[in-house]
Symmetry: C2
Subunit: 357 residues, 2 copies
Amino acid sequence: MKRLILCLPLMAGNAWAAEELMQKAQALFKPIPTEPPDIRSTPVTPERVELGKMLYFDPRLSRSWMISCNSCHNLALGGVDLEQTSIGHGWQKGPRNAPTVLNSVFNAAQFWDGRAADLQTQAKGPLQASVEMNNTPERLQETLNTIPGYVDRFKKAFPNEPDPANFDNLAKAIEAFEATLITPNSPFDRYLKGDEKALSDAEKKGLALFMEKGCSNCHNGINIGGNGYFPFGVVEKPGAEILPEKDKGRFTVTNTASDEYVFKVPSLRNIVLTPPYFHSGQVWDLKQAVAVMGTAQLGAKLTDPEIDSVVAFLRALTGDQPRIELPILPAHTKDTPLPIVEVTPEGTVKPEGKGNH
Amino acid sequence: MKRLILCLPLMAGNAWAAEELMQKAQALFKPIPTEPPDIRSTPVTPERVELGKMLYFDPRLSRSWMISCNSCHNLALGGVDLEQTSIGHGWQKGPRNAPTVLNSVFNAAQFWDGRAADLQTQAKGPLQASVEMNNTPERLQETLNTIPGYVDRFKKAFPNEPDPANFDNLAKAIEAFEATLITPNSPFDRYLKGDEKALSDAEKKGLALFMEKGCSNCHNGINIGGNGYFPFGVVEKPGAEILPEKDKGRFTVTNTASDEYVFKVPSLRNIVLTPPYFHSGQVWDLKQAVAVMGTAQLGAKLTDPEIDSVVAFLRALTGDQPRIELPILPAHTKDTPLPIVEVTPEGTVKPEGKGNH
């Protein structure tokens, strides 16, 4: 009897007919499209995308001229910085792990606590956060308007606007570029589109387990996550090293008691590329992260073979990384505000970790 | 009589026949070739260049995983960081301004004091400098050998070597990539190749002045600099804000009294893209830099029109910037040494600014 119970999950996984497994998966998940999606807020025109790319790589958007969007969301490294929490102005450490920018356009909201409805709202956060780029809208506007190469491009990207090189359009252009940062064509995407052979047997077993065990209750949809909020520790709270007591997650956004330690479910797309894991960035090993999820969220102590199996499936979520030509940035002029690298009193970490991931 | 003297330089400039000006320039300067040059130390094979590009952009070569070669020698910004002196590990400020990587393969030696004979020797400096990337050869070797994607590429780039992913080959690969970072086809290069119309009249007047006044005594050759050593302040020492007393330049390399405050003549290629100027990075305005050079090196107080004229010529030294596709970097493994962002006691600025530009 004992033996039978232990074997059940795997038997169930194996027992599913190939067709049934694919149908269940297709009902729960959606493939990444091969073209950037429309976004609600701003048209993804070629002019905006190209301008947004330049801005994304320009460290002059930070107070110090040292930090660009790409510093923490590095497109050479899966759209992350591989740090527990990001390092910003004055080598200050932010309170949360930087989520990947890749496929973030498909998230229902941005930041770990979902406090930004879209990518243009998100982009305004790190630009101003004292522990990140530590800039101000006024100074940014002055910077953009004293770089003629930018003024021209803002005019073309936002035609018929009297003063296009402004903070809002800066965020819109970055959003337009970020909307193109998608990773189609992972083995799992090809499987979802009907290619039975795109996943190995081990990966299919992992997919079956991922659905059976309940991982897909939270991690589903196009981003296999990114579309809902759940408490970290539904069943059992992990230790304070993984879930620091001070960071109450979505509670700071909604001020609702039931939102304490509630976080946006992160996307599992390209997950093997983006350690360390969780909002605290405290877990480097994907196997350990899967084990923590088992106990904390599902109340299930997953066996080693089960964990290996789920990880095999997660490895099949890595898609084609965007190929980006580094932009050549326009020269500043004598009127451009010069970099300030000093850490001033206002450059200290704000309470509540506002303005961070 | 007074009026005549004041007019002499411009008259001389105007008086030169077009053919004579071009011949004088061709005798003093050489155009940037359109193809990367051979380098003495290592073959520039496609495998080494591609590997070197990956390493150049990989922040995991730093102790913190925060700083790559491209952080201070940003290929989106003329190969520099636009900082007075670079910011490194723990937000420490280095003692000298970061020279551009562009065309650096044509310099006779590297660093402001010429202490590295070639780019592979240079590359080893910032990797280890405590105020820059703060890493060690041993740790780097461990990092490279625990990233399978790198091990494979080192094998292909350095065939028939038993243990190719080592510190020396790391530097050789970076050197091979850097040798490709050249900027041909500036207006002045086209002029040197015989295109009389490549320079405007104003730029030609500046070129004539540049040679007449003696700028080209130090700034000549393919890099219009980069090939000799001269004291900063041949005629008149600039103030301590521009020439800090503590940094004795080449004296720390040769320990010879006559080398006090001697520096390598910087290249003027792409000079409008690479402020601030001088080893101290204290001058942001190119006109001011030209004026300082006039008094300090030539004992000549250049007039405003003369300075404008020289700057017009300097603007014609901007060539085609290298177009680089951002590499997709290979994933690390559980055996890779993790980033250390803390600033430890050994992470303090070393005396004499060793290990810096």
